[in-house]
């Protein structure tokens, strides 16, 4: 049931009583089955946008439809179609993981038998079967996040909202969560709207990335396209012997134009993109040229952010007022 | 920083400064005032019970308890303050800097007395507004002396607990015993009109004797004051040892 699985946003605005607009007229479109990454520093407006799209906060102006339903006029239908794991893992420390799932399932109308089955299934899916009957108070940050995700999936939503899902997690938990999100999108066809301040996360998970800064979208495309817009990747090779420098330069020169490099090294801009690195290695090998060091430099999404806003993404949000405080009001 | 009195003076000065920058320093008077209003307002007819012959009237009867409660709670609050100073790290710096650490205890005690003077005045003013008469023969200094001793005792108790626990957990551990001591006493009627288990408990409670003597002073009819002062002095002595014990433990913990 339901019309589509996508998200459409038109000129969405959210103002608060004091201060500038948290969300200043954004337009975006997420295709069904897509993983859309919303990337920006703290205070950029990511969480406020998510709160509006999940109907927890009314917009000041603008429209949006989620799963084909209008967020203002068809709130209950929107909520029935989405799952959300928001910034704070909102859990009850006195309940066990299993009890959380049963409660969620009960509220979504699953029968007693279905609750047990679904609860067990989700616990296994997120790897919490062992801890299922322990109180959440004793869970680590990673475990809470996983439970959060499981709770969001209880009613098999078509669209999933994840607000900074891996902030504060250790690398293993982060990878595990990434794997699950990818799987959900690929195998189950779930549309994922994900906000993050981590470049890597957006790069790895998202099909398309929207970069938001100070309430506005400053760039939107696939990660590769965004980076390519800034510049092509380059390769820098340091010859094993000084004498081989010319040979290295000759080989590399076939893959693109030469650019400034470190003293003693040779660098070219790869006209064929980052995949060309493998060809470079093969060519060097074929010509029997030895290198002490070979490095691939790609522009990062941070470079994209820098180019668009004049600021670096890392540390960009520190002087902003925490927008979450206002969002909770 | 050097010397017992210099340390005490510095600590007291800082603490008193904190009072004047934060009007919440009068908080210890809040519950006593509330109880005073509730009891002196609602229970005056208890003064009609046969055998209740307190000369100064029921309001004055309640006032004395409210006053002693306020100064005792003031001591407790100083304990909270010390616990807070341990939590935010100030106490450690203080102990490192102070040449004579006993002076720290004295300093907090002095500050507590300063506060007790102010909360005590507040309670007294409220009582006067409510219509408490000052009958002739009022022995001012005796009453004040007992109140001060009660304050010092409570402060020393609170300080000891605070230095022992060094966290905000000290709060309930300080507050509850003081509360119990204040209530297991002739709160509503004189000791001779109590019966049953509460009479036995009140008799054993040293605070009872301080309370009764203080009430006697207010009515101009001091009774058993020597005993009351002895008990107070003993309490202060014992609790001073307790406070020093707490200090030693705090020192050892570093």
């Amino acid at each position: 049931m339901g019309r589509e699985r996508g998200i459409e946003v038109e000129n969405l605005v959210r103002e608060f009583r004091k201060g500038p607009r948290a969300v200043d007229g954004i337009d975006l479109r997420v295709e069904p089955g897509e993983v859309y990454g919303f990337l920006g520093p703290n205070g950029a407006g990511k969480s406020t946008t998510v709160l509006m799209l999940t109907t927890l906060l009314p917009p000041t102006s603008g429209t949006a439809t989620v799963a084909g339903y209008d967020i203002v006029r068809e709130g209950p239908q929107v909520r029935a179609s989405i799952g959300a794991a928001l910034q704070e893992a909102a859990l009850d420390p006195f309940l066990t993981g299993r009890e959380h799932l049963h409660l969620q399932a009960a509220l979504h109308g699953l029968s007693r038998k279905e609750r047990k089955r679904r609860g067990q299934e989700l616990l296994e899916r997120v790897g919490l079967e062992e801890a299922a009957d322990r109180k959440v108070r004793g869970y680590s940050g990673g475990m809470k996040r996983r439970l959060d995700l499981a709770l969001a999936l209880v009613h098999e939503p078509r669209i999933l909202f994840l607000d900074e899902p891996t902030t504060g997690l250790d690398p293993q938990s982060r990878s595990a969560l990434w794997a699950e999100v990818s799987r959900l999108a690929r195998e189950d066809g779930v549309t994922v709207f994900l906000t993050t301040q981590y470049l890597e996360e957006a790069d790895v998970l998202a099909d398309r990335v929207g970069i938001i800064d100070r309430g506005r979208i400053v760039a939107e495309d696939t990660p590769e396209a965004l980076k390519a817009e800034i510049g092509r990747p380059s390769v820098e090779a340091t010859p094993a012997e000084r004498s081989e420098r010319d040979a290295v330069a000759r080989v590399l020169g076939e893959f693109g134009e030469e650019i400034p490099a470190q003293p003693g090294a040779v660098a070219v801009r790869l006209s064929g993109g980052a995949a060309g690195l493998a060809d470079v290695v093969r060519a060097l090998d074929r010509e029997n040229v030895h290198v002490a060091n070979l490095r691939l430099d790609e522009p990062s999404l941070n470079d994209v952010f820098l180019a668009k806003t004049g600021r670096s993404l890392e540390g960009a949000g520190e002087d902003e007022d925490g927008e979450m405080d206002e969002a909770q009001a | 920083m050097g010397g017992f009195f210099q340390v005490a003076w510095a600590v007291a000065g800082r603490q008193v400064y904190k009072y004047f920058t934060n009007p919440a320093f009068l908080a210890p008077a809040l519950f006593p005032l509330f109880f005073f209003v509730a009891f002196a307002g609602g229970l005056t007819r208890v003064g009609d019970v046969p055998g209740f012959d307190y000369a100064a009237g029921y309001i004055a009867f309640q006032y004395v308890w409210a006053l002693l409660q306020a100064v005792s709670m003031g001591g407790a609050f100083t304990g909270f303050s010390i616990a807070g100073d341990f939590e935010n790290g100030f106490a450690r710096r203080l102990m490192l800097a102070a040449s004579n650490r006993y002076g720290i205890i004295l300093g907090y005690t002095i500050a507590s007395i300063v506060r007790a003077t102010m909360t005590g005045t507040l309670v007294t003013v409220i009582a006067l507004i409510t219509g408490m008469p000052i009958s002739g023969g009022f022995d001012f200094f005796g009453l004040i002396a007992l109140a001060l001793l009660a304050n010092v005792a409570a402060t020393l108790f609170g300080a000891g607990v605070a230095m022992l626990l060094r966290t905000q957990q000290a709060g309930p551990v300080i507050r509850t015993p003081i509360f119990i001591v204040l209530f297991l006493a002739p709160v509503f009627v004189p000791l001779k009109l109590l019966s049953g288990w509460i009479e036995a408990a009140a008799r054993l409670n040293p605070f009872t004797h301080i309370l009764e003597a203080a009430r006697g002073y207010l009515a101009g009819d001091p009774t058993n004051v020597a005993f009351a002062f002895t008990v107070s002095a003993a309490l202060v002595f014992v609790l001073a040892i307790w406070a020093v014990y707490g200090l030693r433990r705090a020192e050892k913990a570093g």
Partner: protein, 258 residues
């Protein structure tokens, strides 16, 4: 996916409230212990008051028995309100809002927890009171009515706690209301009957204070037996408080949830 029925929702939330309270033994113990302790000290300390000319009971213990019941209801209500505020603060409330859970069902579930605690307190206090020598003039049936009225009072206070929680969304704000309620209890006829309050201003406040009538309703069942007048006033005020507070809470919920 289909939604769930109203009853299912209320039961699910009520179950959670109850489980959560049961898992905090410290809360239960203080909810039962402190009122009893205070009652014990108060009652024996004021025993002499029963000798005031015109005092309506033989023992002050019987007279003051309403006190722990009222105080305990208040405590239960503040705790439930604080729990709701904590849910709002932690975002759990948002999570629940995203389910088909109807706001009124959420309120109903939370209040069901208050009622359950109120019932427990009523039964425990009656038992302890009986052991302490309290004599209920209205007999066994009167005890049931006492529990009923206590639960109603708990419900009313619970509604007020809910309003505070929903309006402020802050645990600290709700808990700081506790002293105010405590004061309100004392500015009533809880310690002495209204006609034995000498100070005019105090008697006036006590007469205006609805808590006086709640107290007198319960008290009448203990010391008088069946006093129709007192019971009508007691139940009447309890009902009014319940309707106003729960209505207010439901209305406040509507403004918080889209």
């Amino acid at each position: 996916m289909r939604g769930s029925s109203f009853i299912t929702q209320v039961l699910a939330i009520a179950r959670r409230s109850t489980v959560r309270t049961m898992r905090q033994p410290a809360v239960i113990v203080s909810a039962l212990l402190f009122p009893m302790m205070f009652f014990s000290i108060n009652a024996s300390g004021l025993d002499a008051a029963s000798r005031i000319p015109g005092f309506p009971a033989d023992s002050y213990l019987d007279f003051a028995f309403a006190f722990p019941l009222i105080q305990a209801s208040l405590f239960g209500a503040v705790t439930a309100g604080a729990d709701l505020a904590r849910d709002i603060e932690s975002g759990f409330f948002d999570r629940l809002s995203l389910t088909p859970l109807r706001p009124v069902a959420m309120l109903g579930g939370m209040l069901a927890g208050v009622v359950a605690l109120g019932l427990l307190q009523g039964v425990v206090f009656l038992t302890v009171g009986f052991l302490m020598g309290v004599n209920i003039d209205s007999g066994f049936f009167g005890m049931i009515v006492i529990v009923l009225l206590t639960v109603l009072v708990a419900l009313g206070f619970g509604g007020i706690g809910a309003i505070l929680a929903i309006r402020t969304g802050s645990v600290e704000a709700v808990e700081s209301a506790f002293p105010l309620f405590f004061v309100a209890i004392f500015l009533s006829s809880i310690n002495l009957p209204r006609d034995l309050i000498e100070q005019d201003w105090f008697r006036f406040i006590a007469t205006m204070n609805p808590i006086s009538y709640l107290v007198e309703g319960i008290r009448s069942l203990v010391i008088t037996g069946w006093d129709f007048h007192a019971l009508v006033l007691g139940f009447g005020f309890a009902f009014i408080i319940v309707v106003v507070s729960i209505g207010g809470a439901a209305a406040s919920l509507k403004t918080r949830v889209a």
